[in-house]
Amino acid sequence: MTSIEFRKDLFADERDDTLKEIGQPTIRQDILGHVTGRTPYYDDHLFDGLLHMRAVRSPHHHARIRSIDTREAERMPGVRRVATARDVPNNLNTLLSLINFGKDDEPLCAHDKVRYKGETVAWVIADTERLAREAVAQVRVDYEVLPHVLDPEEALKPGAPVVNEVYPNNSFDYHERYDHQKLRFGDVNAAFARADHIVEAEYQMSPIEQAPIETCGAIAAPEQNDRYVCYTNTQALFFSLGTTAKLLDIPSSRLHFIGGTAGGGFGGKVDSIVEPTAVLGAILTGRPVRFAWDREEEMQVGAPRGAERWRLKDGVMADGRIVAREFTGFFDSGAYTRLSSYAIVKGTGHLPGPYFIPNVAANVYCCVTNRTPATAMRGFGITAVDFAIECQMDRVAEAVGMDPIELRILNAYRDGDMKAHRRKAKNTALIECCQVAAGKAQWPLSGEAMAQSSLTGGGTPERVAIPETVTDDEGRIGERRAGRTASTAPSRNGRGRVPSGQHGATIVAAPPQNPDMQIEADRIGHRMGSETPPSAMGPASGAAQPSAPYRPASQTGGSIVPPRPTPPPAAPPPAAPSVPPSAPPPASPSYGTQPPSAPPPAATPGAPHDAPYQRPAAPEPEPYRPDKPFSRGTRRPGSSPFLSGTRRR
């Protein structure tokens, strides 16, 4: 296809164009080991005196831990150690904290309550796997079962149980401003008003387990020089190393991680759970310890691709042009954030799919529920919404009576078009893909559709009416260009800062953004007028009290983020309803009647509860201290935590 331009401009100095591999047989470099059975997977490293570690897991979706009785298990023959949350030095983490994104919200081992079925409550380390299993069955855990919520939209309702006290609204906080990720491009409401057809539909996708044939596992052993070696099948070796160092509070220089061979992964081996667990076992026993999930754990505890629900609303002209598209998305993160918060940022940047649509809006919620936490899997964050978008295109074609492929060609983005995240489309090829696919399927297309090209027709004034986001050499946005540092402080009049575009010579004023971009101080970081009894608020929420700054201390130097403003008392409800209107209402109608800075009295850390149970003496989670040797990533004023170095465009 001569009309497709590959990104040769990016790699011109890096490769010669003698590409001849496609269509030719090739032999994998590692396949000799596979066919002879000699490829060394993590479990193929044999150790004398290997101990086996198994987890005691919650049978409940949501329950408070009243007490854990390990005495019977400890007396069993062959049991070397029973470990609980109190054995984990720094028992609170979030995976993306290594790149300064999100709040620590997940313990390696539950200590106050369990938030999903299968969550770790304790571990047993024994001479054989069988003895470990038998001892696990003897650990007695007294649970107080709590109401649970398993549907992401249900979790956002005001009366829903608080799953994770770090996110008391059951939603991730975006940009310290919103309880959802927003996308605003043009004015969807004006476009809906003049559209000939409105097409609305809802789509959803279930969680999908990666199900590698080799389950997640790791073997850790004491090494010389007070180090620990860890053989693992992780897909993210250095993430696992950093996470282990943080959770176990030891320098990463004392960890020797060996990976590289995974018996299938598909995203399910990035969560860095088995590695810190196995190393903890090796530290506690001084012996080689193997911690591996069995198949049931892989299916129940192994994090899947999260469930997603999407509502799409399209405004379509009679000739098939889509003039507006609106998304409301609910992403089921499960009990802990892990990578879901990032998946939504990625997915929102992908909207509205490979089409030029001049008016786009999206509200995407990262919902915390009592389900198994979700994580990476093969294009996660994109897959479900792409399914929704392409089903929606077929519905639109039906609504206007058009051929579905021709409708896609008509709306496809072309080189030079402005995408909804305000970057120009480049190297587009959807039109050519449609033409080739139609040809292969012997699907007749009109001569006009066959004559279209991605190289022409794009970038016309009406297709770049909204200007590109201006970035500097480091990918920094807007006024921060050329050394100017604008305040990102939320304004007090209830509207967020909008890029005015006044500082660059090539910028024209950006069209006004939708009026619902105000800061949602009432909906992030704390829960308003909770209907959950105060006794259900565990002491683990101590790190997330409403008035407490939750940014890691490592970011305070040069921080550009001011303290979150306290909403004025008795403030009226937000002036404009959220767009889309189907978005859930603010957390409570009692907004303003209860000062958000007043924590529920029973949530005082360490306060005794009226129930006469004995809480395990787990250490209170402390904020991550920044002087650890594994702390990496710097946060400068104005820099994105996702960018480093020069971004090539």
Binding site: R28, G37, R130, A211, P212, I213
Partner: protein, 159 residues
């Protein structure tokens, strides 16, 4: 824990081991006899990654009690090659790109070998049936079937 002496032939070599009461063959082969080529994927007889040949018949080592192989012959992928000379199945798997992560491969090879030993010129359907107890999550099954067909043709040509 009581130990039982077990003696069997493993890939042409004699093996004599004391095994734990109730131990599975997969653990005895891997940790006792040191043959790491059979893999444990599910430990419940579902995935086929642990398939070995007992007296020429494919068996799931994770569901086989080690005490039951007394006096029998066990073949694994570790013994498939004759020294440096690869078995035609191994060569065909390499040429047909019939492995990606490689974790199911040794079970696939054993299931295929059992088929070719009893039916040297199988149809594609027979190959598919022979590996129907083995799960693969990476490459899909077509390249694996292609490889078995190719190996069967090559073995018949050489015979």
């Amino acid at each position: 824990m009581a130990k039982t002496p077990v003696r069997f032939t493993l890939n042409d070599a004699e093996a004599a081991l004391f095994v734990d009461e109730g131990a599975n063959l997969i653990d005895v082969l891997r940790r006792g006899a040191g043959d790491l080529s059979p893999k444990q994927g599910c430990a419940q007889g579902t995935c086929g990654a642990c398939t070995v040949l007992i007296d020429g018949q494919p068996h799931l080592a994770c569901l086989t009690l080690a005490e039951t192989v007394e006096g029998r012959r066990i073949d694994t992928t570790g013994g498939l090659a004759g020294g440096p000379q690869l078995h035609p199945l191994q060569t065909a798997f390499m040429e047909e790109f019939a492995a990606q992560c490689g974790f199911c491969t040794s079970g696939m090879l054993m299931a295929a070998k059992a088929l070719l030993d009893r039916q040297p010129s199988p149809s594609r359907d027979e190959v598919a049936e022979a590996i129907s107890g083995n799960l693969c999550r990476c490459t899909g099954y077509e390249p694996i079937i292609d490889a078995v067909m190719r190996a069967s043709q090559r073995m018949r040509g050489a015979a």
